[in-house]
Symmetry: C2
């Protein structure tokens, strides 16, 4: 999906919501456990219910891998279901991969050839050749970890060099030489709302994937205030707050209601920004 397509979808659907498919057997409604593949049954119902209100889905690979073959199969089925039935939704494999060049090539093949997602989250620590193999696929995106939403983000991401430049800024500036805003987005956590103004000084046009709204405590208002551009420039993710809104047979309707609430709020911010 191109940048233009993504912006068009955001405008039309009046939403920049990404639904995180962090599907956990211990948390899904127990009546689904009798299904052949409970993960996929859950995801399918969540997707069908929330699709009108979001522009993206983000399965986190860890939740699938930890179930071995069944989990990996559920991930493949989920991506395939999205690809066939919702071609105008952006699919993000939240995999946080990154390795030396010839190995990153394999990861890129996993997610772009095997699964055909639109974007993969990638860790920056190993530098250029760990990231660039993901850029070789037309229409596909890298979403590079920059400033994450967890407590541990303070361990290294704020380390500053002799000129006072923090690591998160160095990642933005260095990676801008590998790809522009048509191929690269950044993960910026919502729990650090006021940081968005600083990020925008360095990356004024890039799309930012923003986890941490809801369960992790981030504020959508603050993210939009400091992070929104005149083309939106945001994909705001919510996982647990939507997909586990109810643990009962009404889980899909409850998820839809939560997604609709966020979409409605987002519509307001888009309108306010003239989008």
């Amino acid at each position: 999906m191109t940048r233009k397509d993504l912006i068009d979808i955001i405008r039309k659907r009046r939403s920049f919501l990404c639904v995180g498919l962090d599907t956990d057997l211990a948390k899904i409604p127990q009546h689904l456990l009798k299904e052949d593949n409970p993960y996929f049954a859950f995801n399918k119902a969540i997707i069908d219910a929330t699709a009108p209100y979001c522009v993206a889905y983000k399965p986190n690979t860890a939740f699938y891998e930890c179930q071995g073959l069944d989990g990996w199969k559920a991930l493949e089925l989920t991506v395939d279901y999205l690809r066939r039935n919702y071609p105008n939704h952006f699919i993000i494999a939240d995999a946080k991969r990154g390795d030396i060049g010839n190995t990153s090539k394999m990861y890129a093949a996993t997610f772009f050839d095997q699964m055909d997602v639109d974007a993969v989250t990638v860790a920056p620590y190993m530098g250029e050749d760990s990231v660039t193999p993901f850029l070789d696929y037309p229409g596909k995106w890298v979403i590079l970890l920059d400033l994450t939403s967890n407590k541990g983000s303070h361990d290294f991401q704020f380390m500053t060099d002799a000129d006072g430049m923090p690591l998160w800024e160095k990642v933005l500036r260095t990676s801008a030489r590998w790809a522009d805003e048509d191929k690269m987005m950044y993960v910026v956590g919502a729990t650090q709302g006021s940081m968005f103004a600083q990020i925008r000084r360095v990356a004024p046009k890039s799309f930012l994937l923003v986890p941490g709204v809801g369960a992790q405590g981030g504020s959508l208002a603050e993210v939009c205030r400091y992070g929104m551009t005149d083309e939106c420039g945001l994909l705001v993710n919510s996982s647990r707050g939507i997909i586990y809104a109810s643990k009962d047979t009404d889980f899909a309707e409850a998820a839809a209601a939560e997604a609709a609430k966020l979409q409605n709020e987002m519509d307001g911010y888009l309108t306010k920004a003239g989008i």
Copy 2:
């Protein structure tokens, strides 16, 4: 496996060789393609041939994931085969994972519960809570990326703070607060041989997993000269140089011969260090 067990095995087997199972369908002998699971058939033969000469095996998850379910199954079969038949070999899942706490927990469950490997490679960018869930398993290890062997390692790992401390050193010092040398090792690339003296000033006792010997150009002599401790403290990995020593029906014998050559060299370095 405990640190003491690992050191004992190194002493007895006169080797600190780790064989990297970067198994690639395009590179394995073509007669194996008729097997039910060519990856596993290849790995099994390589393992049986090289086991006397090495102390560890390191499947790189990317090479399995990129084949979807068949690949993931081959990885599970390989770890299971090692666990049953070679209980005194250390198994490393070279996965380079790392995510927020509740997600890293899932990755830890994947590799330590689902697969029962001894160690997982983890990326440090997201800090403490992305790493510590892997430390909750008795007898299991984290191998944290520190100074990698690829060209891109120069992009961020050598960034220095106002006091002149590079990021790789900050990773060593900060992570030493999360676990000691009984639970944590570090990835240090062999292509940066002279750096081992600097690493040892900060991490005098930690085991270092050293990729980059052989195909990537690192020198075993230099690694041992600067990096070996009085308990060895090294696991030196070779992948392509061993497993693709021959592309013909004699591939297992050729792999054994390459592994034996390295083991013989390693025996010399161990003896010289009084180990």
